[in-house]
């Protein structure tokens, strides 16, 4: 995360935040049920969210090689529509027009567009925010797509080009307030970079290979997160949660990744232990029986999830909990303790 100097608008204290595809997020409160973006206001953590919907977004009137402005707009519209189609989430957005403004300009407009950022050779796209640090209200958010990379809006994707709609779905997930999810597996390459082997969330910090259109589709983990921030209708009364702790030798583990498998539906939803007691909570779960698995955060850079100062413990072996967890309708499971052992 890059933090610029704060500025004041109409008596509110605002701060400019940046979230790139592979950069740091602020840890949210351990009572929160999903890794959300947040800011520190004094000694407390405030979750970022839009207080007024629909979000009005502008699209740059300048395209990029291989993508016209109109094609860009249509892909962005589809990406927003993907998030709006979540039946348990009230998030909404509306196209407000084309603009010559560039993303990341402080202009009180939510702008999506291209920018040439060759120095960010590992960053496909990034989302920036202007927020009210007292309330966590998102005042403005921009998304840029880096023209250092080659882009495509082809219906079936294009070999060698990144699918713009897929990357837009990920970035719009940040725009609405979601952090990164760790439901994925990677391998370390000789270059020192990580390559995704597989994932089951569009909010994984590392993108699928160029040409893939997989991240156009939201997964259960993404849907749970969006619904948790913007619950719609009877979401809270129909879905449940799992909470507990991850401990090692009796001590809480911070930053453990916990995944819940819905035995009936096969859905995977995850979250992290977010305090020194190892407390975690996973919400947005359909009623049923679950198997829990805890693993260290070792499939992506830690600063893709937590601020650098966070003391994430990765010195433990993955473990599956040896008891079933029952998620009731509209309620929480009995608390569980997942005990892990050092590597």
């Amino acid at each position: 995360m890059r933090r610029a100097a704060g500025r004041r608008i109409a008596g509110r204290s605002v701060r400019w935040l940046s979230v790139a595809l592979a950069t740091t997020l602020v840890a949210s409160d351990p009572a929160d049920a999903y890794l959300k973006l947040g800011v520190r206001a004094g000694d407390r953590l405030v979750t970022l969210r839009w207080s007024q919907l629909p979000v009005r977004y502008f699209v740059s009137d300048t395209g990029a090689p291989g993508v016209s402005a109109q094609q860009f707009r249509e892909a962005i519209d589809r990406a927003f529509a993907t998030w709006q189609a979540v039946p348990t989430s009230s998030f909404a957005a509306t196209f407000a027009g084309f603009t010559s403004a560039r993303p990341q300009d402080e202009d009180d407009m939510n702008v999506l567009g291209f920018r040439a950022r060759p120095e960010l050779e590992r960053v496909l796209a990034a989302t920036t925010f202007t927020v009210d640090t007292r309330t966590g209200e998102i005042v403005e958010s921009d998304i840029f797509f880096n023209t250092t990379f080659q882009w495509s809006t082809a219906a079936a994707g294009e070999t060698g080009r990144f699918d713009l709609e897929s990357i837009a779905v990920h970035e719009i997930g940040h725009l609405l307030g979601l952090g990164h999810s760790a439901i994925g597996e990677t391998e370390l390459q000789p270059t020192g970079r990580r390559r995704v082997i597989a994932a089951s969330t569009v909010m994984f910090p590392i993108a699928f290979s160029a040409g893939s259109t997989e991240d156009r589709r939201l997964k259960p983990d993404d849907i749970a997160g969006a619904s948790d921030i913007y619950p719609e209708g009877r979401f809270r009364s129909e879905f449940g949660s799992i909470s507990g702790t991850v401990t090692k030798n009796g001590t809480g583990v911070f930053g453990a990744h916990v995944v819940a498998l819905d035995l009936r539906r096969g859905h995977l939803v995850g979250n992290f232990s977010l305090d020194d007691r190892g407390s975690f909570a996973i919400a947005g779960l359909e009623p049923g029986l679950y198997v829990l698995r805890a693993e260290p955060l070792d499939d992506a850079d830690i600063d893709g999830f937590f601020e650098p100062a966070a003391r994430v413990d990765v010195d433990f072996r993955p473990v599956v909990l040896d008891r079933l967890v029952v998620v009731p309708r509209g309620g929480g499971s009995a608390r569980v303790d997942i005990r892990v052992t050092p590597k």
Partner: protein, 219 residues
């Protein structure tokens, strides 16, 4: 052919050596053993980062409901001497066993086991085959269906389904009474159930067997 045999059993008078008492109502209660059954495999899968996608298995689960004992209560109303309409209530507390294995990062395999309560309210048609009685044992056949309810974790989760059954057994009338209490005896039977709904890993019917032994009283 089967209809002809059953029709003959309904109409043919039984010998006095193996006759059920004349009765309107039968009440029976006793023990039940329900057989286990497989629920299937569920894998925690991710989408592969390759052309065409494909699955990557993070870990695998195999689920089974284990054999368990319980109790049941039945009340039957005699429509004819041979044919009865019966209502039954069964209660059982089996264990659900989940075995995890094949973890992509070598998390140790574990077995989780959790008990749940299961109630079934069912209706049946019972046909007593007195002409086929042997040595005082009167055979019968039964078929029916019911509503099944599974309660997990102190009733915080309820799963419901439908259970269909067919089976048969033997009734031994060991004593005869007077005007009110017409008789008493013992009953043993076996059943095959087909379960639809309730907790499932794969959306498909499951089959399991059950056997019961009960004390029976006729009014």
């Amino acid at each position: 052919m089967l209809a002809a045999v059953l029709g003959a059993c309904v109409l043919w008078p039984a010998s006095s050596a193996a006759q059920a008492p004349r009765r309107r109502l039968e009440v029976s209660g006793g023990a039940l053993v329900q057989g286990g059954y497989e629920l299937g495999t569920r894998e925690a899968t991710l989408v592969r980062n390759q052309p065409g996608g494909g699955s990557f298995t993070l870990f695998r689960t195999d689920s089974r409901v284990e054999t368990a004992a319980g109790a049941e209560l039945r009340v039957a109303y005699q429509l004819t001497r041979a044919l009865a309409a019966e209502a039954g209530l069964t209660w059982i507390r089996p264990a659900l066993r989940i075995r995890t294995s094949g973890d992509a990062e070598n998390a140790p395999a574990v077995t989780a086991r959790d008990r749940f309560s299961q109630y079934t309210i069912e209706g049946s048609i019972v046909l007593h085959l007195e002409p086929l009685a042997v040595g005082g044992a009167i055979p019968f056949v039964r078929a029916g269906a019911g509503h099944l309810r599974q309660l997990f974790d102190a009733n915080t989760l309820v799963e419901t389904g439908r259970a269909y059954h067919i089976g048969g057994g033997l009734t031994f009338w060991t004593g005869r009474g007077g005007r009110r209490l017409r008789g008493w005896g013992l009953r043993g039977d076996g059943r095959l159930y087909v379960l639809d709904g309730a907790f499932e890993v794969r959306a498909r019917p499951r089959m399991y067997g059950a056997a019961g032994a009960a004390v029976i009283v006729a009014f």
